[in-house]
């Protein structure tokens, strides 16, 4: 039976980039300009992914650097079974997760170790007529809210809702159950709703 490492959802979201295939072949053959070209093509996506997963500029820059150094060493092992960008993003995600584990963030049991404290957890919403989101949340407000999520929520939200990974893929990466991944994602969205409502209220008060 033939197995493939390609992830269909990600492949659809990462179409080939003009000039990438040529740069890739040349970089594999030791062309320094080609490696610089690959960096130029992918630095923004890789850095933004790191920043969203880590919520910290300095760490995100370190991990971007680490990802490209790793890419330099592993370039020869890219076989083209998935889009290059998919492969590079997966490599980056793995490096960031490894970094978080080294930092002491236990990803093995999300529920027990990176569940937020009571005050960080989203509030239940039974029977209260809370105002709805306005429907015009801007990107900056959303990015800011994502950055303030507790680490476990943030990881699952970024991987699922932004990067398009499936729950089973996230569960494998974080070494947790798919049920756990679903539950963390739901709590992340609830927490974001709270944060965005607070942000909208603060903006309204400033204007008033």
């Amino acid at each position: 039976m033939t197995q493939t490492n390609a992830t269909p959802g990600m492949f659809k979201r990462n179409p080939p980039i003009a000039g990438e295939a040529d740069a890739l072949e040349r970089a594999k053959n030791g062309d320094p300009d080609a490696f610089a070209k690959l960096y130029a093509l992918h630095k923004r996506r890789v850095y933004t992914l790191c920043l969203r997963m880590l919520g910290n500029v300095s760490e995100a820059e370190d991990m971007t650097q680490e990802a490209f150094l790793h890419l330099f060493r592993k370039l020869g092992s890219f076989r083209g079974e998935s889009a290059f960008s998919t492969w590079l993003h997966r490599l980056t995600v793995n490096l960031v997760l490894m970094h978080l584990r080294k930092k002491g963030l236990q990803l093995v049991s999300l529920e027990e170790t990176i569940n937020p404290s009571e005050e960080d957890a989203p509030k239940r919403d039974f029977g209260t007529a809370d105002p709805q989101l306005s429907g015009s949340v801007d990107r900056v407000a959303l990015e800011r809210a994502i950055a303030t999520l507790p680490p476990g929520y943030r990881l699952v939200f970024v991987l699922h809702d932004i990067e398009g990974y499936e729950h089973n893929e996230i569960a494998a990466m974080l070494e947790c159950s798919t049920g756990n991944s679903k539950s963390q994602l739901h709590k992340a969205r609830l927490k974001l709703r709270e944060l965005l409502k607070q942000s909208e209220m603060a903006t309204r008060q400033e204007v008033a």
Binding site: F35, D125, I162, L192
Partner: protein
Amino acid sequence: MPDSTPIRTIDCAEFQEQLPELFANSKGGRLSDDPVYAQHLSTCPTCSALVRDLEYIAEQARMLLDPGSDIDPSEDVWNNIQTALAGTNGDEGGGKPNGHSPH
């Protein structure tokens, strides 16, 4: 003859308990066509507002993957990569990057 079996009613707690699974199964589409959930949503403004907001957040998040949302790292990142690779010989990977800025 139309089915006159009454639809089971659920409360907010039960509905919200089911939400993670309902969202996971919806695959980006509408939550559920199950009349049990549809009935609750049509009669409960709190839960319907909650669902609309959570769908909206997921929709906005998907838009963040747009390349226009990506941010440039500082110049230091490329400089550090070059420095780190300066002592690496070319046969380990893709060759030693030159000093030119890729920007």
